[in-house]
Symmetry: C2
Subunit: 296 residues, 2 copies
């Protein structure tokens, strides 16, 4: 057993396993270990694959089997917990394969937040190859192309999950999905969808087209208005949405490779929408079209 | 003239007018002066009411006249600018009623961002009373009830503008719309819509009902599904959306006072949407319903 009994010494920020885990805050070390950190009770519970909280739905259960490395346990290797959090979340401690009880200071060194909630799990990478993710025939796919802000990327991942997307792709030109801020902003959705990590954005668009998806580039200067495109049936089939960086938009060659460039209409005097808002509008337009095909 | 000629001394962070302006970073001092700070070339341009950039639309021009304190000049009192920014943005310097050229250090003390862009304007408050804002008969109103995060509030303000809302209400239980982070996140939209500041959330809902608007509470546990509500014509008339805090949602008495509690459907396994995403989906549902009433 890793965790001290009453009276035993707590692990500190200098204990080698704490030091090793802390290194996972850096992408280089994550890539070497193929492990990442998950923080806080909600995310740790998702990572452990605990029974969903009441009210949580899982309509994708039937799709999850073939390709999903994300379904069920996400490969928690170790749980670091403060004594206080261990008392507060006995279910999580009981489920973890290995538990290390640490000082508040060690927790602060592992955690990414200002007010850590006393739990950090080391998890194995859970991304799946694009080919495997596409093998299950997903109806809604999201590609994050060239997004540098981890909070934005995590938020769109969360929204994609809520809108019913089952695959989210983080190509090489986008922030690491295992970045602590991205994991946190995803609010557990990292564990709900098939995450694809790496690869070239342009090659990804090609693979999506080859898999029979209609690829739509969200583009503030796109030729197609989202509402009209929806009315014309453009969202009626299996769709992949490609979202680019907030400031510069999609790389021109990526936008050109899509079947269509679609813009969210601006009705007022705002110059544009931010990425998270634009993605929410596009993805829920697809979700609504899938729900009532007659109206789309 | 306030600004030094070549060879003259630049204002420093200890110059009294810089010190006075810096105080506007605090709400208490903003309230006393009824002035706030606007940072960066884009926002300063909006504040000055400069001609819109190419591609910017202003379909609300016809609505703006009766009540809008937001239309046209927003009451820039003074512009602080570094020598470099003065060279770069001569149009903004020319338009400002009073210009103070300051050191980089003084600019850093005035600016809220890590990498200030060399321009900070002092503006007069531009909010309008709720009664005045409602007198113009707005078709889409947004109420931010109990939102503490200025970035979230500013983002929803931006999205509201993009979706065609013409009034956004910040009641007393919500962050100050003149908070620097909120101003920045609004990306200029603070100057595009009628902003109402202060007042009680519940009283605001009452006033909106009295003004003939259908008041909808965005509520993750609402009885009405947004898609079905839209299909049933619930969004066909003049609408006010009320959004609450991300963590706790709307205060029960505020949600109860609305005509209906509407939830954005969750199709995947996400527990919820974040505030900005949920607001984008709701407001664009209204925008779409207004655009093609036959389908709503």
């Amino acid at each position: 057993m890793q965790h001290p009994r009453p009276g035993e010494v707590l692990f500190t920020e200098r204990t080698p396993r704490v030091v090793a885990a802390r290194k996972l805050q850096r992408r280089r070390d994550r890539d070497a270990a193929r492990r990442f950190l998950v923080e806080g009770p909600q995310a740790v519970r998702e990572a452990l694959g605990s029974p969903a909280a009441p009210g949580t739905r899982s309509p994708r259960a039937d799709q999850a089997a073939p390709s999903s490395g994300a379904a069920g346990r996400a490969g928690v290797v170790e749980l670091f917990v403060t004594p206080e959090a261990a008392d507060r979340y006995p279910d999580l401690v009981a489920e973890a394969p290995s538990v290390s009880v640490v000082t508040e200071q060690a927790m602060a060194s592992l955690a990414d937040t200002v007010h850590p909630q006393g739990l950090v799990a080391v998890c194995e990478f859970l991304d799946v190859p694009l080919r495997a993710a596409l093998a299950s025939g997903p109806g809604l796919v999201v590609v994050l192309a060239g997004i540098a802000d981890p909070g934005n990327a995590g938020t769109v991942l969360r929204t994609a999950d809520a809108a019913g997307a089952s695959v989210v792709v983080f190509p090489d030109d986008t922030v690491d999905p295992y970045n602590g801020k991205c994991v946190r902003a995803s609010a557990g959705s990292l564990f709900h969808v098939d995450v694809v990590r790496g690869g070239d954005s342009l090659a990804c668009v090609g693979a999506l087209r080859d898999a029979g998806l209609r690829v739509l580039a969200a583009d503030a200067y796109g030729a197609h208005d989202l509402d009209r495109y929806t009315d014309d049936g453009g969202l009626s089939g299996r769709t992949a949405w490609v979202f680019g960086a907030e400031a510069h938009g999609l790389a021109p060659e990526v936008a050109r490779a899509a079947h269509a460039r679609v813009k969210v209409p601006i009705h007022g005097r705002a110059e544009s929408l931010n990425l998270a808002a634009a993605a929410a509008v596009c993805l829920y337009a697809s979700a609504r079209a899938a729900r009532r095909p007659a109206a789309s």
